[in-house]
């Protein structure tokens, strides 16, 4: 049997594993490309056989919340089953946040995305409606939590307040891996997501050794990062074959399937 590592080394399709990318983006930012971002992302997914990507706006422009989410909506309609949407929220107006999250969930969005780089702590009151709805619906909430930056320290508070939210902590293992491990072990409803351009040496092995395997999920952060590059850290990790499949597919499916309609 060909292993996942061998398939990656040979550039063979991974479609049989029904891989789910829990961290993807559409839109424009500092990395330039010419064509529509949805088509670009689908092409990147097709190269290796990634089945599904959960997308949110790339543009770091949450103040255009509705416009950003509309791009996701149109893309998910065009590529049903391949692209799923996170509702991107800008916490300036709690009423608008509640209305936008409710509206987009009715359209089929599957979770919520927040970005600390917008300048608001995750405990900022404007985010509360999104967390409340996420808690009621048992949704995944994807949070940018780069090691060494703000955001991660607020997770224990939020985790205990919203026990039915699945907190997906992006960029685990990029740096200060011990911080993500500490939070994951303290908070049972957290999931560590692996994307980072640095592909920090042995980060995946360290996380697998330190937190329950069912709490690690894969994301590519494509765009702007490279999906095939991000796959490599799991395909090449010195962990059991079954663990790779769990990280690339099973764990994410369980999170997405537990949502309440």
């Amino acid at each position: 049997m060909t292993t996942l590592l061998e398939k990656g080394r040979l550039g063979k399709s991974l479609a049989e594993y029904e891989i789910v990318d829990m961290h993807a983006h559409l839109g424009r930012w500092s990395v330039p490309w010419k064509e529509s971002s949805a088509e670009h992302l689908i092409r990147a997914m097709d190269r290796s056989g990634v089945k599904t990507s959960v997308v949110s706006s790339l543009e770091c422009a949450g103040f255009r919340m509705e416009a950003c989410n509309e791009v996701m909506y149109q893309a998910t309609r065009k590529y049903p089953g391949r692209l799923l949407g996170y509702v991107y929220v800008w916490p300036g107006d709690p009423k608008a946040v509640r209305a936008e999250v409710e509206r987009r969930l009715k359209q089929g969005f599957v979770g919520v995305k927040m970005l600390i780089l917008m300048g608001y702590d995750y405990t900022y009151p404007g985010y509360e409606p999104a967390f409340e709805i996420g808690n009621e619906r048992r949704l995944p909430v994807l949070l940018h939590t780069y090691g060494g930056q703000k955001g991660l320290d607020e997770i224990p508070t939020l985790s205990s307040r919203y026990k039915d939210v699945s907190f997906v902590l992006a960029h685990a293992g990029a740096q200060k891996v011990e911080e993500h491990i500490r939070v994951a072990n303290e908070c049972e409803n957290t999931y560590l997501e692996l994307c980072t351009s640095t592909a920090t040496y042995r980060a995946v092995e360290t996380l697998v050794e330190s937190v329950p395997l069912e709490r690690i999920v894969w994301g590519a952060d494509d765009m702007p990062l490279n999906m095939s590059h991000q796959l490599g850290k799991v395909l090449g990790a010195q962990i059991p074959e079954e663990a790779k499949v769990q990280i690339l597919s099973t764990n994410a499916r369980r999170i997405l399937n537990q949502s309440r309609k």
């Binding site: 080394r9 500092s30 092409r43």
Partner: protein, 249 residues
């Protein structure tokens, strides 16, 4: 299976406060596991590498016992007399099987200005020795300046971040002697495809980024790239072999 020649790897260095010193055995173990046939190697991590002659000697000795490793020593301007002359450094590099040189002006506290390091660059250019430049050691404008002043000097940029495309593309279009090693953290959405289209596959070199990074991500970025197999072979090993073949010994 496509042959891989890693242009962006190293071992034997250290970082402050980090107990792990990556060994040649670890590098070789991963190369074997991932079917990487050869690697151009530097002393890495470089943060605490303050004794270039000693590091180079250890690098040469290690590479002499492992045929899959090709030394890429550090070079320095010699005006202060604390290191051998520029000519002697390059002669030593060639004599020990070196196939590229590493320039670390920030790390080693020198200037790329003509009055400081012109002799060093001139000899590297004259011998066509590829010069590896970690992006953190150079402003892009400095790379452009060097590429213009020494048009026959192959300059290989490595450890380039994903946010630099708007600078990297025009830089490489403007200067045909600038090359890019695609190892981590160069994780750019369809970056290999984009650079192949815009500057040509012959300007890209496979690299991994070990020991800072896992080696496999750079491999899958190449094996899954939407490019022709001939371009893939160029990037995987052909381009580095061509540059090395151009060295005037």
């Amino acid at each position: 299976m496509i042959e891989l020649f890693d242009a962006q790897a190293g071992f034997g260095g250290a970082r402050p406060g980090q107990p792990w010193i990556p060994t040649v055995e670890e590098l070789l173990g991963h190369m074997e596991r991932l079917s990487i046939s050869r690697a151009l190697v530097r002393t890495d991590f470089e943060e605490m590498d303050g004794n270039v002659p000693l590091s180079n000697r250890m690098l040469y000795e290690t590479c002499a016992t492992h045929r899959s490793l090709v030394p890429c020593p550090s070079v320095l301007p010699a005006a202060c007399g604390d290191v051998p002359s520029e000519q002697e450094q390059i002669d030593e590099l060639i004599r020990n099987g070196g196939c590229a040189a590493t320039a670390r002006p920030n790390r080693d506290s020198w200037s790329i200005a003509e009055w400081c390091s012109g002799k060093l660059f001139s000899i590297l250019e004259e011998r066509r020795v590829p010069m590896l430049c970690r992006q953190a050691n150079f402003e892009f404008e400095a790379i452009a300046d060097l590429a213009k002043r020494y048009p026959a000097l192959p300059i290989v940029l490595f450890q380039v971040g994903y946010r630099h495309q708007r600078v990297l593309v025009p830089l490489m279009k403007a200067f045909s002697n600038v090359y890019l090693a695609i190892g981590s953290p160069y994780s750019v959405h369809r970056g290999v495809e984009s650079m192949t289209e815009q500057v040509g596959a012959e300007r890209l070199l496979f690299g991994t980024g070990f020991p800072s990074s896992d080696m496999m991500p750079a491999i899958t970025m190449l094996t899954y790239a939407e490019i022709s197999d001939s371009d893939r072979r160029l990037i995987a090993s052909g381009n580095l072999d061509r540059l090395i073949g151009g060295i005037r010994k």
